[in-house]
């Protein structure tokens, strides 16, 4: 019985002492934290993708709570819905943001843009980009080694084996922007997501003069400016031999698509307009870059 008593007493004493120490330390080093941080964090998707520009969801929640307004703070994954809830918790106005989607602005398929040399080495766009202009004569186009695919945490990007180009799954894309940062050639852009995922964009970023660009890739934008002239909404600008459509100004009339001599302007996710029309020869390519 002695042994039992000694064990019980000694263990009890050790336990009590430890409890006191723990309590004192916990009180002493207590960090006052705004309970709203937890609340906001619980509303966020929890993907920790960094699409908002913060180090993760927790960090974003902290920033939101500290901020005086939600301008410039936006969770691309959760979108307006989540931001409205966050604004509700914090009693602020939600910044209205239009849904966006990643768009790959290159149509340099194996067919359009013939390979003139072959690369052998580490499979990484960043490495190829810093080594040389790439396997084709276009020094601006997609390299096809999938840095964007690797960067996407939502499985929204995949490489199409037939074209060698990445394809965005608009259902899965959360517009977090990880692929935009990963692409060493800045081909991927976050553009306004139209109704039913519709969009019109110039699928080329080649800044070479028209002839040179065309020689490298039959689907290149040659900077002729026909589209800019055609556009009634001043949505299209041509700079450095390449046209750009401002997705916020574009009304998706698709007139530019018809006038583009190299079919560099793509209209995606529209219902087929006039199937018999010959101007729609780019439809299969559109389908492969946009619909999936």
């Amino acid at each position: 019985m002695d042994i039992v008593a000694i064990s019980v007493i000694s263990l009890g004493v050790i336990g009590a002492v430890a409890a006191v120490i723990l309590y004192v330390i916990a009180q002493r080093f207590k960090v006052e934290e705004d309970p709203r941080i937890d609340e906001v964090e619980s509303l966020l998707p929890g993907a920790n993708c960094g699409g908002c520009g913060k180090a993760g969801c927790r960090n974003f929640a902290e920033s939101c709570v500290k901020a005086t307004s939600l301008d410039g703070l936006f969770c691309p994954v959760g979108g307006s819905e989540v931001m409205k809830k966050v604004a509700g918790v914090l009693g602020m106005e939600a910044a209205d943001a239009t849904p966006r989607v990643a768009v790959v602005r290159c149509n340099g398929t194996c067919e359009n843009r013939p390979r003139v040399n072959s690369y052998e080495g580490a499979v990484s766009c960043a490495i190829v980009n810093s080594l040389y202009a790439g396997e084709t004569a276009c020094a601006y186009g997609c390299l096809g080694y999938g840095d964007c695919v690797a960067a996407c945490q939502f499985g929204a990007l995949s490489l199409d084996a037939a074209t060698g180009l990445p394809v965005v799954d608009i259902e899965k894309c959360t517009a977090c922007g990880a692929c935009v940062k990963a692409c060493p050639r800045h081909i991927i852009e976050l553009r306004k997501k139209g109704p039913k995922g519709r969009g019109v964009y110039v699928s080329c970023v080649n800044k070479e003069k028209g002839g040179v660009a065309r020689k490298a890739c039959t689907a290149a934008c040659i900077g002729c400016g026909k589209c800019a002239k055609e556009c009634q909404f001043e949505a299209i600008t041509v700079a450095d031999n390449v046209a750009y459509i401002d997705s916020d100004k574009c009304k998706m009339c698709r007139k530019c698509v018809e006038v583009c001599p190299t079919h560099a302007i793509h209209a995606v996710n529209f219902p087929p307009k006039k199937p018999a029309e010959t101007a729609q020869t780019t439809a299969p390519a559109d389908a492969s870059t946009g619909n999936n």
């Binding site: 003139v116 040399n117 052998e120 080495g121 580490a122 990484s124 960043a126 490495i127 810093s130 080594l131 040389y132 202009a133 790439g134 004569a137 020094a139 070479e208």
Partner: protein, 446 residues
Amino acid sequence: MKTFRIGGVHPQGNKLTAGQPITPVGLPKQAAILLSQHIGAPAQCIVAKGDKVKVGTLIAKAGGFVSANIHSPYSGTVAKIDVIADGTGYKKPAIFIDVEGDEWEESIDRSETLVTTCDLDAAAIVNCIEEMGIVGLGGATFPTKVKLCPPPTMKAEVLIINAVECEPYLTNDHALMMAKADEIMVGIELLMKAVNVTRTFIGIEANKPDAIALLTEKAHAHKGVEVVALACRYPQGGEKQLIDAILRRQVASGALPVSTGAIVQNVATAYAVYEAVQKHKPLIERVVTVTGKSLTHPGNLLSRIGTPISMLLEAAGGIPEDTGKIVLGGPMMGKATANVETPTGKGTSGILVINESEAHRTAPSPCIRCAKCVSACPMGLEPYLLAKSTMAGNMEIAEKGHIYDCIECGCCTFSCPAHRPLLDYIRQGKGQVMGIIRARNAANKK
């Protein structure tokens, strides 16, 4: 025999053009002179379309402290200032010259007579080197005058002449030593005077016994100059490795090589210094080894800067049918190119044609942790770990592993039995880590 103390590999020498004399090649009809042929800021173009230039006319001025003048290697008319695809395929600004005849600036002494006396003081010699656009000709193309002016807190004690030529295939320095030993010796004396040292070591690898013998004999007449025969080992031509091999001193991480008291200059640079100071001849031509197992006439060609490499390959017998890869420089550190129209620059030491059967990389297999890369790394790093952490995006581990000390010599990839592209990743990771460090330093300053 002396050599550096950490790592290194021993690739097959394949010096196909050893013992071949230097042969001049003709002039192209039109040539493009790149404005960025050196490390540092690109040179600023000072000519315009339609200007007449002679051989040796200054056409672009140094664009900063670390930069170099560029002189016209041709006489003729400036056709345009435009861009041209260089070895990487990216377009870079260049001056295009329509070549007409071969008329040189009068100030240049074109005679073969050896000029040994020089009345200039140290500052004047450095000034002349800067004027004439001399850069390191070993391949790194670091402006020579910057190297000759170390920070005031550091004092050079000894000059080391890099005549190692540890890259397989290349023989341009070897050929130059055999042909211009006297001129090189005068160039060395000028460099010694410029940095105010009394001792010079010329490091030559043992696979060039004729050059060792010749320069040792010539060195007798020059006080303080000594030839050091080195065991063949790559990358002995690396500045840090060469200092270690000859002086048994190691440059600390991040420190300038001159902190060990040594200034290293390439042997071809010494020759260029002789020509610049004694003959007033700017750096407008250099020896390029054009080599490869399938070439019919490989050789050491004296060519003007800006010659398209297709022309040099033509002079070596034309591009063989079974060509698989064309490399600018040696096989260990040279850059493969798909653009045979790219012009040569001041740093083009060789053009290597690799035939189809040797051009391909073997598909990588899993790392078996054999540690051959660790043994081979001349900087004492752990390449497998650096490559792995870069692949995983874990740049903290890469930084802790001193990835920024990598000299990109390629020993790790060369020796990897699993054929893993270690250096490909490490080079990438090094760039990323350097960026992170710069950003952090900038943030700390604020």
